[in-house]
């Protein structure tokens, strides 16, 4: 590798630090009137095939990421997040009762349902808006998506266990761990029905997220 001469270094640094593409004339004016054309050409060749390239667009020059690496500039990062208990309940209600309005969900849960909860479920791709109910106020109504069935491995909603089956499985037994925790005040979730209906279950939140990259 041949070491760049000082003019080439100066052009390289100037273009690198510049906030805008520069013409050869601007570069030249910046560098005491030096003839920069050769340096530009030499730099262009140097950066050829690298991750960064020196490109000329019209009369201006600038550095840019190599086109084949453009995908690196935008990345998706998946973050695994567990659905909060409030969101899980809302999802279950939608699944069992669909289509339902938010007011109906709230009536069944006995607590107010934050808008955010439904947003999370829609973001997850499990719930969607399917229309409006033709009653006063024309509330939006929600239903599950095909993706919901896929995620939960269900052929249809009919495969969701009925109340009797839930009871038989002990899932309707009043005493279970969560209830005990709730009773002991260890859970900030919205377990009390009605009485706390003013409270918003904003804790759509996310058990065990890690925000930090």
């Amino acid at each position: 590798m041949t070491a760049p001469d000082n003019l080439e270094r100066a052009v390289e640094a100037t273009l690198f630090a510049s906030e805008k593409p520069m013409t050869a004339e601007q570069l030249s004016a910046h560098l005491q009137g030096a003839d920069v054309r050769e340096a530009l050409e030499s730099l262009r060749r140097h950066y050829e095939g690298r991750g960064v390239q020196l490109v000329q667009r019209g009369r201006t020059w600038h550095f840019e990421t190599a086109p084949d690496l453009a995908h690196l500039l935008r990345r998706d990062r998946e973050q695994v997040r567990r659905l909060s208990r409030a969101a899980t309940e809302v999802l279950a209600i939608v699944a069992y009762h669909e289509p339902v309005s938010r007011a109906e969900i709230e009536a069944i849960r006995g607590v107010q349902t934050a808008k955010g909860t439904l947003d999370v479920l829609m973001e997850a791709g499990w719930v969607r808006i399917v229309g409006r109910r033709e009653v006063p106020g024309r509330p939006v109504i929600y239903a599950t998506t095909p993706n919901f069935l896929v995620h939960f491995g269900l052929a249809s909603r009919k495969e969701l266990p009925g109340i009797d089956e839930l009871r038989a499985a002990g899932l309707l037994d009043p005493v279970d761990d969560e209830m005990v925790v709730a009773a002991l005040g260890g859970d900030d979730d919205d377990d009390e029905p009605s009485v706390t209906s003013i409270r918003d279950d904003d804790d759509v939140g996310l058990a065990g997220t890690d925000e930090s990259a």
């Binding site: 600038h62 998946e78 899980t88 999802l91 849960r109």
Partner: protein, 273 residues
């Protein structure tokens, strides 16, 4: 070191211009009153110490004390309002000087030499930091001497949440909701009873054939009937209904009731028409 008793008019003007930048005059024979703005007495001491033009480790503390006192006196002569800490330092330095000069009878702890040494160390420490600050500021600094890329494309990281929820969580959540929201309906269990009507009929019929007092219990049905009268709940029901029936018969004048002791046997007899 010489000191003019009369304030130098030049110095006065410098003093008045309090925020003036460091004046560049360098009269080192007299104490030059530099008014750059001392950052406390230690700062002033450091500057005075530097005027001795020796390594801070070798400065003469006695000389430094004298210089400081002179400075303070001069400032007072100029009727400058000095902050209390400058005066406190002056007093302490005067004490230190006398302690250093006078013969000592008993050993103070710490000794004046020790105190002088500590002062020296403090000045060194402050001097070192001041120098370090200057060297730090003189480095090639990003955005002043060296530059990051002027127009970085930026890395965009789109976060997508992969929401997790298991089938079990879902159905259990629904169970919880149901459990919570089920109205508390109290179902009365269906059970065998003897109705008041049948008790009335039975008691009336039995009173009709009986001539003497009969205990109420004897009116109760027996296993002869198709029903299982051994069920204690059914028997209680029959007793209660039969009691109400006899009360009704007594009310309409068809029967009379007697009970000798409280909770004793209740006897019934027909009233002869």
């Amino acid at each position: 070191m010489t000191m003019d008793a009369v304030p130098d008019p030049e110095a006065v003007s410098i003093f008045e211009d309090w925020d003036a930048p460091l004046a560049a005059s360098g009269d080192d024979t007299a104490l030059y009153l530099e008014v750059d703005g001392w950052e406390g007495p230690l700062d002033l001491l450091l500057d005075l110490a530097r005027r001795q033009k020796v390594d801070l480790r070798q400065i003469s503390i006695l000389q430094l004390v004298d210089q400081y006192i002179v400075y303070i006196e001069r400032a007072e002569a100029l009727r400058l309002e000095l902050a209390a800490d400058y005066l406190v330092m002056a007093a302490w330095l005067t004490y230190l000087k006398s302690a250093l000069l006078l013969p000592r009878e008993e050993q103070d702890d710490p000794s004046p030499e020790e105190l002088a040494l500590r002062l020296q160390l403090r000045l060194q420490r402050l001097g070192a930091m001041r120098e370090a600050a200057a060297r730090l500021m003189g480095r090639d600094r990003l955005g002043r001497d060296v530059f990051a890329r002027g127009a970085p494309e930026g890395l965009r990281i789109d976060r997508r949440n992969a929401w997790q929820c298991e089938w079990f969580d879902l159905v259990r959540a629904y169970g919880q909701v149901q459990l919570r929201s089920q109205p508390a309906v109290h179902m009365v269990r269906e059970r065998m009873v003897m109705t008041l009507e049948s008790a009335l009929a039975r008691v009336s019929a039995m009173l009709g054939v009986a001539l003497d007092w009969i205990e109420l219990r004897d009116f109760l049905p027996t296993d002869r009937d198709s029903v299982d009268w051994s069920d204690p709940r059914l028997r209680r029901s029959a007793l209660a209904s039969s009691f109400v029936a006899t009360l009704e018969l007594a009310r309409i004048g068809k029967a009379q009731l007697a009970q000798e002791v409280t909770f004793g046997p209740l006897r019934v007899k027909a009233v002869k028409a």
